[in-house]
């Protein structure tokens, strides 16, 4: 085997790879382009198939704002995403710290139970959760949307893996310095884990932002979050594509903005979790 041939073929292969990647990214970007294109069409052109929306019109955005409190929805969704992500981070951090820093009876069993909850499909826990919320009087509140999401097995799992590779000597040193385990957590562990926490936090916030099913169960009397607001343009009498696309376009913006600012962290988060 000669090295020239390998070099030749690898260049060709690289070019081919880029062509494939380019095509695939077009395939990915096109629906997003179509979303914004449709949202900018005039009402009578909404189902038009022309590639360029012309004449441009903001009628769909005006209609969306007239029919729904879009700003209020975006704020509410933001509140849900932030609190849900922060809550999950806190619970996951404390649990992972306990699993990694101590040896205690039934540790393995308890950990397996955490992992087990990850495998239980949401559909199976949905009704019991709903009944519980109904008894707590939390239906129809944003708190009702947030509370059942607070404990995330995914978070515990990921942070425990990070903490397992955390040098035990540092903890021992902190203890010798006379720190309590609580202060060791905040002064030693958290600062070193910051990249992992940031990545996980972003991942959790984005999935809470996009969550549809659970808010739809809890918030029956309003369209308080934006994903529910989207559905209100679909119905028995056909879909209102214009305002639907306009609201969807607006709902994507915060996530895009987050992505632009924290691109490195987000890619990191998805790679670390092995999830989409």
């Amino acid at each position: 085997m000669t090295t020239e041939v390998v070099g030749e073929s690898s260049r060709a292969r690289r070019l081919g790879g880029h062509v494939v990647l380019g095509l695939l990214s077009l395939v990915c970007v096109f629906p997003i382009y179509w979303l914004y294109a449709t949202s900018l069409r005039a009402p009578q052109d909404v189902s038009s198939l022309s590639v360029l929306p012309w004449p441009l019109s903001t009628a769909s955005y005006t209609e969306a704002f007239a029919k729904n409190d879009v700003l209020g929805m975006l704020v509410n969704t933001g509140v849900v995403a932030v609190f849900s992500a922060l809550g999950q981070l806190l619970v996951a951090l404390l649990a992972a710290y306990a699993f990694a820093a101590w040896r205690f009876p039934f540790q393995r069993l308890l950990y397996l139970m955490f992992v087990g909850t990850w495998l239980v499909p949401f559909q199976a826990t949905m009704l019991p959760n709903y009944v519980l919320l109904s008894r707590l009087g939390l239906l129809e509140t944003l708190a009702g949307v947030i509370v059942p999401t607070l404990c995330s097995a995914l978070g515990v799992l990921l942070l425990r893996e990070h903490l397992n590779s955390f040098p035990k000597e540092l903890l021992d040193a902190a203890r010798m310095d006379g720190r309590t385990s609580w202060s060791a957590l905040w002064t030693v562990v958290v600062p070193t884990l910051r990249p992992a926490l940031a990545a996980l936090g972003i991942l959790l916030a984005i999935s809470a932002w996009n969550e549809y099913f659970w808010p739809a169960m809890v918030l029956q009397r309003s369209n308080a979050v934006v994903q529910l607001g989207l559905r209100s343009f679909m119905g028995t009498e056909g879909n209102d594509w214009g305002p639907l696309m306009a609201t969807a376009g607006l709902a994507c913006l915060p996530v895009f903005a987050l992505y632009l600012v924290l691109q490195r962290h987000i890619v990191n988060a998805f790679v670390r979790s092995g999830l989409k």
């Binding site: 009402p43 009578q44 909404v46 189902s47 038009s48 198939l49 029919k67 729904n68 069993l109 397996l112 139970m113 992992v115 087990g116 909850t117 495998l119 239980v120 499909p121 559909q123 199976a124 826990t125 949905m126 009704l127 019991p128 709903y130 009944v131 109904s134 549809y212 099913f213 739809a216 169960m217 809890v218 029956q220 009397r221 369209n223 607001g229 559905r231 209100s232 343009f233 679909m234 119905g235 028995t236 009498e237 056909g238 879909n239 209102d240 305002p243």
Partner: protein
């Protein structure tokens, strides 16, 4: 690792079974239903009204909120909380039953619920909707149908009845109409003022449009699982058949009249007269002006008018018939049912139903949403809907169809959805995927008959 998996599986199974257990108990109140007393003048009641109309922004939500505000003004002691069904379907109307079931499980069902006619058997026999005849008396129920001035259309009065008792007051519904694009008719050399009246004519016109304009011919929105079975039932009834025997004991959708309907439709697809599309695609493409005709619920008319704008003109005709037979439209739509457990709430629920089905409410609903007024006399009343009817040329064929209207029959037993979906899947396979109509309907009917015996309580 094996142990991990085992433990996880066990946990999953445990949770899954407990959740199922919860589901199966979800029925409404049992036992005899006694007459509820009138509310005392100072008695305050609050009730919950669940309707899929609140799931749709714009005219639907706004009109219903307006009606409820008017009701609360008229009944200062009753306060009404409105909500939409919970669930994750794109169309909130398909979540109504599962939403009600989960609230029954939680022990707090809504007091008044708007449910589709296709769910009637399940609503009455499994979810235990309250019989209005027992609750407020047959006289009161009939008096409401008679109205203050304009009675319900005769064929609409009994659509929410079960074994001679009224459980649901029919509220909103639509009939299947043949919408067509007048511009495409003219381009194809057809007479836009003389739309096809039989399926053979539809087929010929569709082929002409397809050949001369290159656009789609005709689409019939009754032939896919997603479309449900309401207008498929209309086609079968129009051809002299039924999907279920009149005593509700035998499925009959594999019999010759149904098979023939499916064959006629399959032939249209094979001949290129009907494009092979999903419902959504067909509706969008008709709205865009790329399809000649569509048999569709009159409720979607607004979407068509919006799409037509000033670029093409919408025409509407009654549902076509099979040669030499009377076309029999069936209704889609919903009725209002009561599920309250408390006597005062039951009475308040009835007051709300009376208000929502009053002359005044129908005038508001028809003008603002466009639903058919079930008190048909309103369209001749200058103070009612006369002006609106005059501005709405599509109304007349729709109202005329009420004369021959037959109910959309709900499938029997607890497995009614599997039966209905199985039947429509067989129809879809035959019409759009070329399966043999007789064979695919027969095999599904056999399977579904088993579901019926096991399922009915």
């Amino acid at each position: 690792m094996k142990r991990t998996l085992l433990a996880a599986c066990a946990a999953t199974l445990l949770l899954a079974t407990s959740a199922c257990g919860l589901g199966s108990e979800s029925t409404g109140s049992e036992g005899p239903v006694s007459r509820v007393p009138e509310l005392k003048p100072d008695q305050k009641v609050s009730i919950v009204f669940e309707s899929y109309n609140f799931g749709q922004a714009g005219a639907w939500t706004d009109t219903f909120n307006e009606l409820i505000a008017a009701f609360e003004k008229q009944h200062p002691n009753i306060s009404v909380t409105a909500q939409k069904p919970q669930g994750n379907s794109a169309n909130p109307a398909t979540d109504t039953i599962s939403s009600l079931q989960s609230q029954l499980t939680a022990g707090s069902p809504p007091d008044v619920v708007q449910l589709g006619f296709s769910d009637l058997d399940f609503t009455v026999n499994q979810l235990k909707a309250l019989p209005l005849d027992d609750l407020v008396g047959k006289d009161a129920v009939q008096a409401n149908f008679d109205g203050e001035q304009y009675p319900y259309a005769e064929s609409a009065r009994t659509l929410g009845d079960w074994n001679g008792k009224t459980y649901g007051v029919p509220f909103v519904f639509s009939t299947p109409m043949l919408y067509y694009n007048k511009q495409l008719f003219t381009q194809a050399g057809l007479d836009p003022e003389n739309p096809p009246a039989t399926w053979a004519e539809v087929r010929d016109a569709a082929k002409t449009i397809q050949q001369r304009t290159g656009k789609g011919g005709a689409y019939v929105d009754c032939l896919t699982k997603a479309a449900k079975d309401w207008c498929f039932q209309a086609l079968v009834r129009s051809n002299g058949g039924r999907v279920l025997s009149e005593d509700r004991s035998t499925l009959t959708f594999a019999e010759e009249p149904s098979v023939e309907v499916v064959r006629v439709m399959q032939d249209m697809v094979k001949a290129g007269a009907m494009p092979n599309r999903t419902q959504m695609q067909a509706v969008e493409s008709f709205a865009r002006g790329d399809l000649g005709m569509i048999l569709e619920s009159s409720a979607i008319q607004g979407t068509f008018l919006k799409g037509a704008g000033d670029r093409w003109e919408l025409g509407a005709a009654a549902m076509p018939s099979f040669d030499g037979k009377q076309a029999v439209p069936t209704n889609s739509g919903a009725a209002l049912f009561v599920f309250s457990k408390d006597a005062a709430k039951q009475r308040a629920a009835w007051e709300l139903i009376r208000f929502l089905t009053s002359e005044r409410a129908y005038t508001t609903i028809a003008t603002k949403i466009g639903y058919l007024p079930l008190r048909t006399g309103l369209v001749d009343d200058p103070d009612g809907l006369k002006q609106w009817a005059g501005e709405n040329p599509y109304l007349e064929p729709n109202l005329k169809q009420l004369e021959h209207l037959e109910p959309w029959v709900s499938m029997p037993g607890a497995n009614y959805l599997q039966i209905r979906d199985g039947m429509m899947q067989a129809v879809e396979n035959a019409v759009y995927q070329g399966a043999d109509p007789a064979e695919s309907l027969r095999s599904v009917q056999e399977e579904a008959t088993g579901l019926m015996q096991g399922g009915g309580k």
